[in-house]
């Protein structure tokens, strides 16, 4: 299992479009992807789950990947969040 915490930096947080991008990225990997924020754990491959997370700008999300390609999956998703989904 690989795990890393990242801060949400785009101004509007994980609203619908960024949530969809995370799901798209996560679905490319075989590993199970879990996103954790405070008490809530959601499936990183579920758009409704990621939207329920409602991570706002400045909040911290833990990304957890378990499976054969866990390192690559982790790298890909945390990078997407770091870059703020291309928002200014």
């Amino acid at each position: 299992m690989a795990e890393r915490s990242v801060q949400i930096t785009n101004r509007n947080g994980l609203h619908a479009r960024p949530a969809a991008e995370i799901v798209k990225a996560a679905s490319r990997f075989q590993s199970e992807i879990t996103l954790v924020r405070e008490e809530l754990e959601v499936n990183g491959k579920s758009i409704m789950g990621v939207m329920m997370l409602a991570a706002e700008c400045g909040s911290t999300v833990t990304v957890r990947a378990t499976g054969p390609d866990e390192e690559m999956a982790l790298e890909s998703i945390t990078d997407l969040i770091h870059r703020g989904f291309g928002e200014v």
Binding site: N12, N43, S46, M48
Partner: protein, 589 residues
């Protein structure tokens, strides 16, 4: 049998058409058990329904993109990803494996998700509920073999009067003005998303009809009158004739008024009155500019945030303001800063209030969220390089609010200077006079502002403690109440003594009788809906300020709103004699 529904006028115009009932509701699903050997078949049926829904959403998405642009169409991407949602698919399959039929399995999973979204503490999440509901209805309709109610299927030229409970954004972007002639909804107010959109598309609309969808069956003949907020179902021949005559007359009057709309507006005794237009959306700017308006007396900016999922950035706001300013080439544009409560912001996290009209809203919220407010101020300072721009602050009750805003304007200008962006450093600053507090202390405020704008709707509401949205109080919402008239008179006096301009931008300025009263109170600047500009010009050119003052003196002494109205009406009708355009307007008041 004739039945008439009364609602809220949302977008003007008379339409004869056929009721097209759009029931966009989650259907009831009965519990159904399937045998073990049916399970694989149910799972396959579920996947077929998802695939059919994808095809359907993609089709709707393409239509929306052509009609409303890629930004609006993007809302369907969220729905497409929901149809692929792994939790949704696995959850449904696991119920089916426990011998529950596909439609019930899907219904159980979706109901659970919708409950979680509806209960979420953040509005950002609650706002997606509409998308979940759309997906829920679409897939269930396919599984149950129910007819698909998408408005995309209304044929062009159908003259449809679309009757529905409420229009979700995803339904709204599908509307084709060539097929949908008018809109009627159970829910909604004049300022709700559907009303604003209908006005910008030029589709007549009535909202707030309460129970029209439950009382109609669909396919009835009907007349919708967006100016009075009525929907007449199965009209009698006489009724229909009367509406046809009115529609023809309205068209003639509009053409005649437009012919008269250009040039100065001067009363018969030589007093010049300025007629401005109110603009709700940038899309209305061109219509407003050709209406004969001499500028924009009130540019609302709420459209930038209402019904959105993200906050507009400085660039988007700048482009929206510049579009209106450019349409009016050099004429004054008064931009009002955000007049909304925190619960309307897409950024979320703000509580819903028990009493929003007395709550944390407008200038109060903007001053408490200075970073958010400064985005708007920077956009306005930049747009001001395109023309004559002034800033108007809503819901001001104290001079401190004006001073605090000036500090933020200076900061915004400094930030732009640092970035090296073209902008104006300072702009004329004005306040809405819409609370008794502002009206009574207008003499003090005059020392700190360049202009006043009397917002008559809210001034009446706050002075009389009458909610104008409450149907039970409609008769008590009386702009000609002596308390209101005296406040306006005193504000005009304070503005003259303090050397600041004063105008009226509420609905009062659009009613012939009320506008006549305002002239008598000394108001020389009226801002009205673009459609009303020609009417107002014609009205002002036909009256004298002398008679208006005389009528006003009588009205102020009359003691009751009803007697005040009678005094004004008598003199105004005498001044115009038989003018049909005025009589209709007066009878309607």
């Amino acid at each position: 049998m004739l039945s008439a529904f009364r609602g809220v006028p949302a977008s003007p115009g008379i339409v004869f058409g056929t009721v097209y009932l759009l029931r966009w509701e989650v259907p009831d699903v009965r519990h159904r058990i399937v045998a073990d050997d049916e399970i694989d078949g149910e799972i396959a049926r579920f996947h077929e329904a998802l695939e059919a829904a994808r095809v359907r959403v993609n089709r709707v998405r393409r239509r929306a993109e052509r009609r409303a642009g890629p930004e609006e169409a993007a809302i369907f991407d969220v729905q497409l990803s929901m149809l692929d949602d792994v939790e949704l698919v696995q959850g449904t399959e696991s119920y089916i494996h426990r011998n529950i039929a596909a439609e019930k399995a899907f219904d159980l999973v979706m109901s659970e998700w919708r409950k979680n979204f509806a209960r979420h503490s953040l509005p950002m999440v609650r706002e997606r509920l509409g998308d979940l509901t759309d997906v829920h209805i679409r897939v269930l309709s396919l599984l149950l073999g129910l007819p698909d109610h998408d408005p995309v299927d209304v044929p062009q030229g159908a003259g449809a009067i679309l009757v529905t409970h409420d229009l979700t954004p995803s339904l709204t972007v599908q509307l084709d003005p060539r097929a949908i002639a008018a809109i009627a909804t159970d829910a909604g107010t004049r300022t709700s998303h559907v009303a604003i959109l209908a006005r910008s598309l030029g589709i007549p609309a009535v909202v707030g009809l309460k129970d029209a969808t439950t009382r109609l069956r669909g396919r009835e003949r009907a007349v919708l009158d967006g100016s009075t907020g009525t929907l007449i179902v199965d009209p009698s021949e006489a009724e229909e004739d009367a509406y046809r005559r009115r529609a023809t007359q309205e068209a003639l009057d509009d053409a005649e008024l437009l012919r008269l709309s250009h040039g100065d507006t001067i009363t018969t005794d030589g007093v010049r009155v300025t007629i401005y237009a109110n603009v709700d959306l940038p899309e209305e700017a061109d219509i407003a500019a050709t209406s004969g308006a001499e500028g924009v007396g009130l540019m609302r900016t709420e459209f930038l945030v209402l019904g959105r999922t993200t906050m507009p950035d400085e660039e988007e706001q700048y482009r929206a303001y510049a579009r209106v300013i450019d349409a009016f080439s050099g004429q004054p544009i008064i931009i009002r800063t955000f007049d909304i409560g925190g619960d309307k912001l897409p950024t979320g996290g703000y509580p819903v209030e028990a009493n929003p009209f007395l709550g944390w809203r407008a200038i109060r919220m903007c001053l408490d969220e200075p970073e958010l407010f400064k985005i708007q101020l920077r956009a306005i300072l930049r747009a001001a390089t395109h023309g004559d721009v002034r800033i108007l602050l809503p819901l001001v009750v104290s001079v401190e609010e004006v001073r605090a805003t000036r500090v933020l304007v200076a900061e915004a200008a400094a930030e732009l200077a640092e970035r090296g962006v073209a902008h104006r450093d300072q702009l004329p600053l004005g306040v809405m006079i819409e609370t008794p507090a502002a009206a009574i202390t207008a003499d003090t405020l005059a020392g700190d502002v360049e202009f006043f704008s009397i917002g008559s709707n809210d001034l009446v509401q706050y002075t009389l403690a009458v909610d104008r949205g409450n149907v039970n109080l409609a008769e008590r919402f009386t702009p000609l109440h002596p308390a209101v008239l005296r406040l306006i008179r005193d504000v005009v006096r304070a503005s003259e003594a303090g050397g600041v301009q004063v105008g009226v931008c509420g609905e009062m300025a659009s009613e012939p009788l009320h506008a006549f009263a305002l002239l008598g109170l000394g108001v020389r600047q009226l801002s009205v809906a673009p459609r009303s500009v020609p009417l107002m010009k014609r009205l002002v050119r036909g009256v004298s300020v002398g008679i208006a003052q005389e009528a006003m003196t009588a009205a102020l002494e009359a003691g009751s709103p009803q007697r005040a109205e009678a005094e004004l009406r008598r003199r105004l009708l005498a001044a115009f004699g038989d003018a049909a355009f005025l009589r209709d307007g007066l009878l309607a008041t």
